[in-house]
């Protein structure tokens, strides 16, 4: 093959015995225009159909992204076919391009898979009051890319799903069914263990642990049940409207800490009064415990309510009350 042959063979096309130079380029141009029109049409139709089906826009963008990648791939194949380039180059180029694309889209796809993972493992559900890392709020939506949180200032923030996999999650919403499940599991395990005689020293400790855990779980469960019963009794004379996030099965047990000056007697009296005052709003009287002493005394408040919106609505007033009570005189 001489030097000029490469340029001549570039895009040459055979019609019967006749070789027409640059015919391939012409065909390529026409097909590119056709493809362009087709993609425009396709995206329009897709957008309409997705809107009808109520699929969120981030899903549409994802589909568009993948569609474009496949189009690019198709165009590359077309190029090599029409311009008579050796096919082994495709494998070469696609290897490079593939690596580049995959590195670039790593985060997006990671996010996507994290979304699937979260919906499967359910560390939280819609309507839970949670703390993800340092962000605290009510979960409004879990989509495949983002989890939407409503902060205490009622702003809605989107947290990437991958973030939820990496940081600590505190779920302030507790479901009774979770505890009931756990208790049932533990009870059956302990029953099984009784049938086989325990001899090994490790087994004795294990058995003891399981019993302890069961005790712990039962204690938790009873606490929740107690609260729920109290709420149920109160229900008829409730005149407050609940938000849509209230569920029979779930309650919110929210904790936060305040640091107060070192006057335990006075603090205790004042905080008790505040708790009594807030018993009306939160169905159950809030509690507080002391869990730390340094320059200040650290009090932990425990607020129990069936409605997560209560916390968003009233926390500000609660803080204000503490401030007013403690520093007014």
């Amino acid at each position: 093959m001489e030097e000029g042959d490469f340029l001549l063979s570039l895009g040459s096309f055979f019609v019967g015995e006749w070789e027409i130079p640059f015919m391939g380029l012409l065909i390529l141009g026409i097909t590119l225009i056709l493809i362009y029109i087709l993609t425009k049409l396709f995206s329009k139709i897709m957008r309409k159909r997705l809107r009808v089906k109520g699929i969120p826009p981030d899903m549409y963008n994802g589909i568009k992204f993948f569609f474009r990648i496949f189009m690019a791939f198709g165009i590359v194949i077309l190029l090599t076919y029409l311009l008579n380039i050796d096919q082994k180059y495709i494998a070469l180029i696609s290897g490079i391009v593939g690596t580049a694309i995959s590195f670039a889209s790593m985060k997006a796809i990671n996010n996507f898979i994290a979304g699937i993972w979260i919906t499967l493992t359910t560390p939280f559900e819609i309507g839970d009051y949670v703390k993800i890392g340092s962000k605290e709020g009510l979960i409004i939506e879990i989509s495949l890319n983002y989890t939407k949180l409503m902060y205490q200032d009622k702003n809605i923030t989107m947290i990437p799903n991958i973030e939820c996999l990496k940081t600590n999650i505190i779920n302030y919403t507790i479901s009774t069914t979770w505890f009931a499940d756990q208790i049932f599991k533990l009870e059956s395990q302990i029953e099984d263990a009784k049938e086989e005689k325990i001899k090994n020293n490790d087994d004795v400790i294990n058995f003891k642990h399981q019993k302890q855990k069961l005790e712990r779980m039962k204690k938790n469960y009873e606490q929740i049940k107690e609260v729920q019963n109290a709420i149920d009794e109160k229900e008829p004379n409730l005149n407050k409207k609940h938000s849509k996030y209230v569920d029979d099965d779930r309650i919110v047990r929210y904790t936060f800490s305040v640091a107060l000056p070192k006057k335990p007697g006075k603090n205790f009296k004042n905080l008790e009064e505040i708790c009594k005052k807030w018993a009306k709003e939160f169905e159950i009287q809030p509690k507080f415990i002391v869990l730390g002493v340094d320059a200040h005394i650290h009090y932990y408040f425990i607020i129990i309510t069936p409605d997560p919106m209560d916390i968003i609505d009233y926390m500000d007033d609660f803080y204000k009350d503490i401030y007013k009570k403690l520093f007014s005189d």
Partner: protein
């Protein structure tokens, strides 16, 4: 041309099956009220499977040249591989924690800056119940990255570490059960024969600990203004320790670890049951604050 026709028929068949499955899922989800998210994920998975089926049909029937196939699979393989790294590392770190056991269920631990009792060690998260009762889910991968402090000590491991054989343990058991005087002295003399410094330090004050199956040795710090006379201040701390001896079975100890503007006092609580420590913590600190910062007139 025959191949293309076959491909069309097969793809139509795949589409038909896909529609049937989808309508079935829709009906089931309406009937049984599954979570919306779960149903959506299932649908997406089915869509992915159908796309894969289409591709397989394409490859098998129309016989695409190998070069295209290699490039296609390499791209998709790299993408999927990278995407799954996060979750795979989660799962593997979960398996790692379960197999190496840096801590067990019911242990009192500090993972990073979370302190509490381990309720559950799962594949993705470890659930810890903090002292104030909230449940914290910590990703297993994060546990591997952060420091782990296990307050619960398994005595069997501890004895093995310090080369104490079962015979000495038996000996100590006999002594502690007998009514002899100077039990402590005898036990410590036996231990000093073993000449291990660590265990002597740890159990200087209560040698009975060796007979327990496991103990939790929890330490926490408080900061105190030492602005009163030393006799009064130290007496107050002593009185608290004495009061809680019956609760924890062993007497809590305290030591001053730093002395600046405020003194830092470290409390060491030893108890065979970790749950007791968690339950009593709130009362202990309440008592401490009340004693240390007594107000006149209330």
């Amino acid at each position: 041309m025959n191949e293309y026709l076959l491909f069309l028929i097969v793809s139509a068949l795949i589409y038909f099956v896909y529609r049937v499955v989808m309508s079935f899922i829709n009906r089931m989800s309406k009937k049984r009220k599954y979570a919306v998210n779960a149903v959506n994920v299932l649908k997406i998975l089915i869509r992915v499977v159908t796309i894969i089926l289409y591709i397989i049909a394409l490859v098998v029937i129309i016989k695409i040249p190998d070069e295209y196939l290699v490039s296609l699979t390499s791209i998709s393989g790299i993408i999927i591989g990278f995407a799954a790294t996060e979750i795979m590392s989660q799962i593997i770190s979960g398996i790692y924690i379960i197999s190496t056991k840096p801590f067990g269920v019911n242990d009192f631990v500090q993972l990073g800056d979370t302190e509490g009792i381990v309720l559950e060690i799962g594949m993705n998260y470890t659930v810890v119940q903090r002292i104030d009762g909230t449940l914290v889910k910590i990703p297993n991968k994060k546990i591997l990255d952060s420091k782990v402090k296990n307050y619960t000590i398994k005595m069997k491991d501890e004895l093995e570490k310090n080369d104490i054989n079962e015979d000495t343990v038996e000996e100590i058991k006999k002594i502690s059960e007998s009514d002899e005087k100077k039990k402590k002295f005898q036990i410590s003399s036996i231990l000093s024969k073993q000449s291990t410094t660590n265990i002597k330090k740890l159990y200087k004050n209560f040698s009975d600990l060796i007979l327990e199956q496991e103990i939790t040795r929890y330490t926490f710090e408080i900061q105190v203004y030492f602005d009163e006379k030393p006799e009064i201040m130290l007496k107050k701390l002593d009185s608290i320790c004495k009061k809680y001896e019956s609760v924890y079975k062993y007497k809590p100890l305290y030591s001053i670890t730093s002395f600046g503007y405020r003194a830092t006092v470290q409390f060491i609580i030893t108890c065979p049951d970790a749950l007791v420590i968690v339950d009593q913590q709130e009362k202990l600190i309440n008592d401490l604050t009340n004693v240390l910062y007594q107000e006149e007139g209330i």
